[in-house]
């Protein structure tokens, strides 16, 4: 099992009514993730969002070239991000998650997009399809266990 405490993001203004009065931060299910290209080039992101509502795992487009990922031929798929359409390009990479106790590494088809993403998105395809996730809302921890579709390594 991998366990990740939610990470805090400071509120920049007053707390909205949905948060306790005086709250100074929001807690989000953000996890560090590494993306590995076919030649082993590895890019680390400190905060990627685990999002069961996202259908794909999506990284900034620039990342693909930097890690030497070979993009699949353009399939014409797009994503609407904050009202605007952006292309999605796909590639085979490896993803790596670690809570510094355990480490998982697995092959995945992920998307890359020029959409101005705030965080890399760890969605269903490429990430959450391979694991069962528990979002512990009181403890503010997300727990991940691999499932039968996981085809990577656990160390």
């Amino acid at each position: 099992m991998l366990r990740f405490p939610y990470l805090d993001e400071p509120l920049t203004g007053s707390a909205p009514p949905s948060l306790p009065a005086g709250a100074a931060v929001r807690w989000r299910p953000l996890v560090p993730v590494s993306i590995v290209g076919p030649g082993g080039l590895t890019w680390d992101f400190g905060r990627a969002v685990l999002d069961p509502a996202a259908e794909d795992t999506v990284f900034p487009l620039d990342t693909a070239g930097r890690i030497g990922a070979r993009l699949h031929p353009n399939t014409g798929h797009r994503v609407r991000w904050r009202g605007q359409l952006y292309p999605l390009r796909f590639a085979n990479v490896e993803l790596l998650l670690t809570d510094n106790i355990g480490t998982w590494r697995w092959p995945a088809v992920v998307a890359f997009s020029p959409a101005p993403l705030r965080y890399p998105i760890l969605g269903q395809s490429g990430c959450l399809q391979f694991m069962d996730a528990s979002f512990l809302g009181a403890a503010l921890i997300v727990e991940l266990v691999t499932n039968r579709f996981f085809a990577g390594t656990e160390t």
Partner: protein
């Protein structure tokens, strides 16, 4: 790979210092103690990482939420 040292130091990184980078992508040093580059986009960040002589494989990238990022809608933002 992101280390425990990074996670510990990043968690202690001064919020006042981080606030200087609101709305930007930043690259932390591998130990999580310093911000070594910033950019408005990931592309700009990568250029800055190289410009300051950092090894792109030895930094950790992160978006610093800006003042307009009050509420994250997750997958809802894709609609």
């Amino acid at each position: 790979m992101i280390t425990q040292e990074y996670r510990s130091n990043r968690a202690r990184f001064p919020r006042a210092e981080l606030a200087k980078y609101q709305g930007a992508w930043v690259a932390f040093s591998a130990d999580g103690c310093r911000i070594v580059a910033r950019g408005e986009t990931v592309e700009q960040l990568e250029e800055q990482i190289l410009a300051v002589g950092e090894n792109p494989q030895r930094v950790v990238r992160e978006w610093v939420a800006g003042p307009e990022e009050d509420s994250l809608l997750g997958g809802g933002e894709l609609l």
